[in-house]
Symmetry: C2
Subunit: 217 residues, 2 copies
DNA sequence: ACCTGAACACCGTTCAAGT
DNA sequence: ACCTGAACACCGTTCAAGT
């Protein structure tokens, strides 16, 4: 795969059986190639043609699996939200029996760790408005998965609060966590791997404490 | 300006004096054309050539004023930070004599209003890492202008707090405000113009109250 | 000093095949 | 069904002029 074929005159038939077909899951190969490209050069410099090249197929083959470039990116973003939701879910399930701020801190830590680990995807998920024209319902659904995990955690703090209050609290938390992660990604804040947990605690505790007062006050 | 010139054979000389030069400030014309394009089609679809076209010059003329495409975008982003700093400064100066949460609420409101009004620029400012490789010190300086305004407001809440504590508080506030604005821009939260102020109050009050406790506790 | 023209090496996407 | 080839209308950027 990925051989460079010269333009020089070449017999019409090759001796070895040609591997024209990408035997295997081309869609998935394109996905992982795309993620690699994204983390190497960023969203702006990402190209469909390079993803195809790395998967060893003609660039037109991409269109057999994805409607267009945005569809491919939306697919990656949607998968990202699903991973994020799972990460957050796993994190909060470690605090069973302590329905307090610790759950939100675990969730926020999982969020920031995801943003760092999958920074290429994160850029996609929270950057350009991929779904502006409401294509990609699958993306919308994946976002909701993540929002639900957050919502449950907040509800656990004050199960009898009104939907409006809980919704606003969700926005407060989501804003703070996403903002924090975003600043780290843009490198306005430098942060070593082993300091993530204490960083999240320092930055987010005031937010969560304040929220608790608002919710219970 | 902006005439379409056909490729048809044409006398070497035209009768009217040719307006080859963009008499006026081409750099500035490019800036405003670029902003218009950005708000029409977004960062991803922005092209230098279109900016040149709208300014009535050959696309090569751009390079006389900006080193390359990123330099033009960085210039717009830097100007954005300066406007943002001024907006926030104007907002907080309205609360003279009340060194409390109200100042931060005014600042946050100014921030969100800027994000809505200058959404094209905002995307640039907080989106792709224009300054990753530390080109554009001018951009860095403009960012600092904005950060300083925020820092002063936080310091006023607790002037004798340690630099570390104040810095962390700054990150908390910046995270929350930027996250909130970002969610509104991506339209995860719909918000009517006349509801901005009360929205900011609802979403940010828990954060600022919590911070006050942390700072003063 | 300021701008143009032609050229290069790319893009995403469409149309019309090939196996 | 799945992939290729050639073509189209674009890009950003470079080089070498033009006035």
């Amino acid at each position: 795969m990925g051989e460079i074929r010269t333009r020089a005159a070449v017999p019409a038939k090759e001796t070895a059986p040609r591997a024209n077909y990408h035997h295997g899951d081309l869609a998935d190969s394109l996905r992982s190639a795309s993620l690699a490209i994204l983390s190497e050069v960023g969203v702006d410099a990402f190209t469909l043609r390079e993803a195809a090249r790395r998967s060893g197929v003609n660039h037109r083959a991409v269109y057999r699996h994805f409607e267009d470039k945005r569809a491919l990116l939306a697919d990656l973003a949607a998968a990202g939200y699903r991973i994020l939701a799972a990460d957050m879910q796993r994190a909060v399930s470690e605090r069973i029996g302590k329905p307090n701020i610790e759950g939100l801190l675990l969730l926020a830590t999982a969020f920031l760790m995801f943003a760092r680990r999958e920074s290429a995807r994160y850029q996609l998920m929270f950057g350009p408005r991929l779904n502006e024209d409401q294509r990609f319902p699958e993306l919308e659904a994946a976002i909701d998965e993540a929002v639900v995990v957050l919502g449950r955690e907040i509800t656990s703090l004050r199960p009898d609060a009104s939907p409006t209050v809980l919704r606003d609290a969700g926005i407060t938390v989501f804003s703070a966590i996403h903002g924090m992660s975003s600043l780290v990604l843009v490198r306005r804040v430098k942060l070593r791997e082993n300091r993530v947990e204490s960083y999240v605690r320092t930055i987010m505790t005031p937010v969560f404490e304040g929220l608790l007062v608002t919710l219970r006050g």
